[in-house]
């Protein structure tokens, strides 16, 4: 377990997405632009700036197979970017979203022939390429969504879509598009799945906005993190809905890279690994915290003072030392020094590797091998 790579950008990274071989990364520097960086040794070198949106870009997703990028923004638009070899530039295609509020998250489906865009317009736009008009068109998932949708996630079968938002409910809906999808095989979510079929609706114990959802790799379960600092996993086949409450601040993003591992990250600055014993999920590790201790112990000899400071503090305040979350120099023990904005699975599908980006400007690649 540990850090594979760590890079510090001079700006907040509000969204990121790698290409398939991780030689390039698209990041949003908390603005209306998307920057593409190319790997050069240990450095990331700026290569392209995708400038078409008018307002803050809320989400970036780079399709690993087809090498297309979808971006969406608060300006109510989404663009699909394709790389034009001869001119060496990224060309945008506007998507016909038909929404009147900000778009919040965009995600390619597993087959990369569709993508879903969540929005503040109480709907999810399911977008596909309309061959007739040579243009990305969309169908809206509206019922029974009651408020802003903050997150979406695709089922491995390319048809079912999980979404969650500020109406405190995570839902699984069918995003079957006639003419684009083949009829899906029956699953535990349902047998007949016409567009907008509601296959499940779940809540966390104390409510709260749903910040992120993910399907399990086998598609049998759905997990979501909410603003009540909990992780909830629902499995329709067994009817079980189990929640794990955590002690820390809420998570804003999660990935489910292999059947027995969920990694969630958010306001607490460390990615947290959960594992299951078959019935419930429990927290096993906060990624990177012991690494940093080891690193700072070897890197800075001046740290010998921290023990002295600790004892002096205990003496002057007459109280036992508590394990505090911050080290003495004002640095957090975690690798990220601020909220983690996004956590991504490996683009090539390696189940033990994930990447995180944060408001501290860091882009970190992790190994979650047990």
């Amino acid at each position: 377990m540990g850090i594979l790579d760590e890079y510090n950008f001079p700006f907040c990274v509000t969204a990121h997405s790698f290409n398939r071989d991780k030689s390039q990364v698209a990041v949003c520097p908390n603005s209306n632009e998307v920057h593409i960086y190319t790997r050069s040794g240990a450095q990331w070198v700026a290569a392209h700036v995708l400038k078409e949106h008018d307002l803050l870009v809320t989400s970036i997703d780079w399709a690993p197979q087809t090498n297309r990028i979808v971006t969406c923004s608060q300006d109510k638009n989404a663009y699909v970017w394709t790389y034009d070899e001869p001119s060496g530039t990224w060309k945008p295609t506007l998507v016909h979203l038909r929404i009147h509020r900000a778009a919040t998250q965009a995600k390619w489906s597993p087959l990369e022939n569709k993508f879903a865009v969540a929005s503040g317009d109480k709907c999810v736009s399911v977008c596909y390429f309309g061959e007739d008009n040579d243009w990305w068109v969309s169908k809206h998932l509206k019922r029974p969504i009651a408020s802003t949708v903050l997150c979406v996630a695709w089922h491995p079968n390319n048809v079912l879509l999980a979404c969650g938002g500020t109406d405190m409910k995570a839902r699984v809906l069918s995003a079957y598009v006639k003419g684009v999808d083949e009829k899906p095989a029956p699953t535990s979510w349902g047998e007949r799945l016409p567009f907008n079929t509601l296959c499940g609706e779940f809540e966390s114990p104390a409510g709260g906005w749903i910040h992120s959802v993910a399907f399990s790799p086998d598609g049998e379960s759905v997990a979501f993190v909410t603003h009540d600092s909990s992780l909830t996993v629902a499995t329709p086949a067994t009817g079980s809905v189990v929640s794990t409450r955590t002690q820390g601040l809420p998570f804003v993003s999660l990935v489910w890279p292999d059947q027995h591992t969920i990694v969630a990250a958010g306001h607490d600055c460390s990615p947290v690994v959960f594992t299951t014993d078959g019935a419930s999920w429990r927290m096993v590790k906060r990624l990177g915290e012991d690494d940093m201790q080891r690193r700072s112990a070897t890197a800075s000899p001046s740290n010998s003072n921290s023990a002295f400071n600790l004892f002096r503090q205990m003496d002057s305040r007459n109280q036992p030392a508590k394990a505090s979350s911050s080290a003495s120099d004002g640095q957090l023990k975690s690798v990220h020094q601020n909220t983690i904005t996004q956590i991504h699975p490996d683009p090539a599908g390696v189940p033990t590797e994930i990447s995180t980006s944060g408001l501290d400007g860091k882009l970190v690649q992790w190994s979650v091998r047990a």
Partner: protein, 153 residues
């Protein structure tokens, strides 16, 4: 803030509709809930007399009255919880908190904040010492859960 008496959000029809939609509505009738709290009270007070704060808390915090129109039952239940908190000795607080269920612990924190918001009716000193122990075992997560839960007590 005396000049800001008007809640402008109330003038917005859409807002009103949204608030009603998002509010928690109990499936039980007011009378049922009041009767349930009354019924609970006897068992809880018996547990307090035996000095069993854990059992008393588990009972008082199970299925608390939530939602609109339950004000009487809510006040009665808050009073009941407060009686337990008062009756527990300071040195026992930590062990009581670590022995109640996670669910009960989060609900207990709701009642602690309910009490702290009404300093004339509750003993805030005692509530603060409970607050310290509850947040020690539940962390910031417990506080966030109370804030995000629309089922208020």
């Amino acid at each position: 803030m005396a000049h800001r008496k008007l809640v402008i959000d109330n003038l917005d029809a859409e807002h009103q509709q949204m608030t009603e939609q998002m509010q928690y509505v109990s499936t039980k009738s007011t009378e049922e809930v009041v009767a349930q709290v009354d019924q609970k009270a006897a068992a809880v007070r018996a547990a307090i007399t035996r000095g069993n704060s854990i059992e008393a808390l588990e009972r008082a915090l199970a299925d608390p009255p939530y939602g609109r129109g339950m004000e009487a039952a809510q006040a009665a239940n808050a009073q009941l919880v407060s009686e337990i908190l008062m009756a527990t000795r300071t040195q026992d607080i930590a062990s009581v908190v670590s022995n109640i269920s996670e669910d009960a612990r989060d609900v207990l924190l709701k009642y602690i904040y309910h009490g702290l918001a009404r300093p004339a009716e509750f003993n805030c000193g005692v509530l603060l010492s409970w607050h310290e122990r509850v947040t020690e075992s539940g962390g910031l997560g417990s506080i966030v859960r109370v804030m995000s839960d629309r089922r208020t007590v």
